[in-house]
């Protein structure tokens, strides 16, 4: 009897101490999705990401190790909307059928998210990137993380049905925590609702919708093409007439033009993080949103004390 109890205890201990033995290997294309997957999967999964933090995912060049990751993975979480289009070719090359579109280990995190700036199926380059369907930066609205984690949880349960309860509990805990934080973030930016800003790229529509910011213009309207002087002059005069309060800037983009406009308007240049771990302060998903909200709130507060 004692031996049997000891045996049960041993098995239990082993299963806690070495979860990765049976753990499901999940690859996420970005660090943001990796962070959300880790929240939902907990110790059921081992998560890896492909695009390094702080690298522009649309200009990303995959390497052989990424192929290896995908070959050994049991599940894949992608941004979709053409943002990480290269992953299709990689998965096909790795020959992992389970991760292909429609496979039981594949999830497009954009499913169910209310999408903004729909541009149709054609690759029309109108307001920035050559986005296929819609603006793809939907993870920057924390409310969307609730929908995204639902999709991720559904896929994980499909792949590891024996851990169903744990996955559901993890997700509920994460969503509860996020809702509490969301209330705090909304309160922090509520006094600045309707504030006008200029952004470097069209990266922040979802963030702007959630926190009620008015992005009046973009400094670089076409990705990779330097702004013309006439455009810059228009941006500055618009910024002045609309009383813009800050310039939002992505950390991996050149700073010259943004700094120039910020100086001309006498407003702060606010560097926001677009992905988890792209800055030391953004270690996980909640830290990412927290960092951005705090940075903007601080910039606004400095202007009108």
């Amino acid at each position: 009897m004692r031996a049997a109890l000891f045996g049960v205890a041993l098995v239990a201990m082993l299963s806690i101490a070495t979860p990765s033995h049976a753990a499901l290997r999940v690859v996420a294309t970005t660090t943001d999705l990796a962070s959300l997957t880790a929240e939902v999967g907990g110790d059921v999964v081992v998560v890896d990401s492909i695009v390094p933090p702080g690298v522009d995912p649309e200009a990303f060049e995959p390497r052989p190790a990424d192929l290896e990751k995908l070959r050994n993975a049991g599940a894949l979480v992608r941004v979709g909307l053409g943002y990480d289009f290269w992953v299709d070719a990689l998965v096909a090359r790795a020959g992992n059928k389970r991760l292909m579109r429609g496979g039981d280990g594949d999830v497009d995190a954009s499913l169910g998210v209310p999408l903004l700036e729909i541009r149709g199926r054609g690759v029309v380059n109108q307001a920035g990137h050559a986005h296929g369907h819609a603006n793809p930066h939907y993870w920057l609205d924390p409310e969307n993380a609730i929908i995204m984690t639902a999709g991720i949880a559904e896929m994980l349960v499909r792949r590891a049905p024996e851990h169903r309860e744990r996955i559901v509990a993890n997700r509920e805990r994460f969503v509860g925590k996020l809702r509490a934080q969301l209330a705090r973030w909304t309160d922090a930016l509520a006094p600045h609702a309707g504030s006008k800003v200029i952004a470097y790229h069209n990266t922040w529509p979802y963030f702007a919708r959630r926190f009620r910011l008015d992005i009046v213009d973009f400094i670089e309207p076409k990705a990779g093409v330097a702004p013309s002087p006439a455009h810059l002059a228009r941006v500055i005069s618009k910024g002045r007439s609309k009383q813009v309060k800050a310039i939002l800037h992505e950390p991996y983009e050149p700073e010259n033009a943004s700094r120039f406009v910020a100086q001309k308007l006498g407003v702060p240049l606010v560097k926001l993080a677009t992905s988890v771990r792209s800055m030391p302060e953004t270690a996980d998903y909640s830290a990412l949103i927290d960092y951005n909200v705090t940075a903007i709130a601080r910039a606004f507060a400095a202007r009108n004390p």
């Binding site: 933090p53 702080g54 690298v55 522009d56 209310p114 999408l115 903004l116 700036e117 729909i118 541009r119 149709g120 199926r121 054609g122 819609a134 409310e143 609702a193 309707g194 504030s195 529509p205 702007a208 919708r209 009620r212 910011l213 008015d214 093409v225 330097a226 702004p227 013309s228 002087p229 006439a230 455009h231 810059l232 002059a233 228009r234 500055i236 005069s237 002045r240 950390p251 991996y252 983009e253 050149p254 700073e255 010259n256 033009a257 700094r259 120039f260 001309k264 771990r277 792209s278 800055m279 030391p280």
Partner: protein, 454 residues
Amino acid sequence: MTVTSDAVALLAMPLAASVVFVLIHAYLGVHVLRRKVVFADLALAQLSALGASVAFANGYDVKSAAGFAYALAFTAIGAALLTFTRGLARTMSQEAIVGILYVVATAATILVVDQSPLGAEHVKKILIGSILTVTGEDVAKLAALYAGIAVVHWLIRRPLLALSRDESSAPYRNRAAAWSWDFVFFLSFGVVVTSSVTTAGVLLVFSLLIVPAVIGAAFSKRLGLVLAIAWGVGIAACAAGLGGSYALDLPTGATMVMALAASLVLAGAVKAFIVVDAGIRRTRLRMLARTTTVGALLCVVASSAWLIVNPSGDQPLLALLERAAHVGPPTFLARTEAETYESAVRDIVRFQSEADRLDAMERAARYQGVPLADDEIRRIASYQQNYNEMTRGERFVRDVLQAKARARERWVIGVPAAVVALAGLALCLRLMPGAMRAIRNATPTPPFLKRAIP
């Protein structure tokens, strides 16, 4: 302030920077052309970028003193390599070594950036400047740096010019002396291009270096005159490029490169047709008129042949003509077809503007009034998706009808145009026996033929 006064303030500093750049780069360009190492600037700039990346990977800020020291050290290595490989120029072109240096430095930069932590992507981009956002402080610093280098070059102008004139470094019996002058030249050159590439970008710096110097060299052999022409033309082209970039709403660096290229074409025309005596000018103008006519006729023949073979393909020349003559596909369609075509064109605009209207509505609701609920956003998205699909449908209708019109145009326009152009070509060739003879005379008879013809 108005948009215009913003523009003047915006363009003043780039213009000042351009003047500073032209003064030093046109001068260095003369050397580089004589030494036949036109791509040395790219190789040195890339090496300095490699130095900056190494500094960043080691935890230094690119704009700190350490960052600058790394960049300078790598530039010096490049200068040393260029100096020593000059001796190899007898067995192979130094240009080949310059090219290899450039690609190796670029590849090494990619590998270093890949190994460095957080935000390394950033480094690559800091190293490519944009002349539009240059500040007064930048211009003052650059002017001081270039003035210092200009003084050094003035003091050692004799050995430098001698070395640039003669490829074998013969004027200097003393090898070590020749090598040290060469090293000073390449190092100062490296410092100049490194600083200018980070403020103006690779393309513009290359053009500033080569184009004015080429124009100057085309008109004179005397250094003073070459420089005067290069400076004048360079500054004028930069000013035109900046103005054009503002007036036409185009990216500045690329427009300035185009303006410099245009100045080269203009200078070529001046050299060929204006600074020659009347007889030669007349002959050349006649030649130009004929080649232009023959070229245009050949274009028409090729274009109409393409229209006959593949009417539904892209027809650039025909599209241009149709737009100029305000003639569209409806002219060549039956009445009902023309109506369908016109309604398709109208609907494309209408559906697109409906989608845009929804977009504007959603954007406004982000920050004013009652926020839209998720389901309302989803409904807007699905409407937009529908409008986009409908636009695609109408585009398809438009394209099919346009192809139909083109299929008719091939008989109405394609065949007659081809016949007329071919007749014109035949006429030109018949009128040009003189030209044909001139070409025949200008071509030297190969020696074996000379021997064969008694």
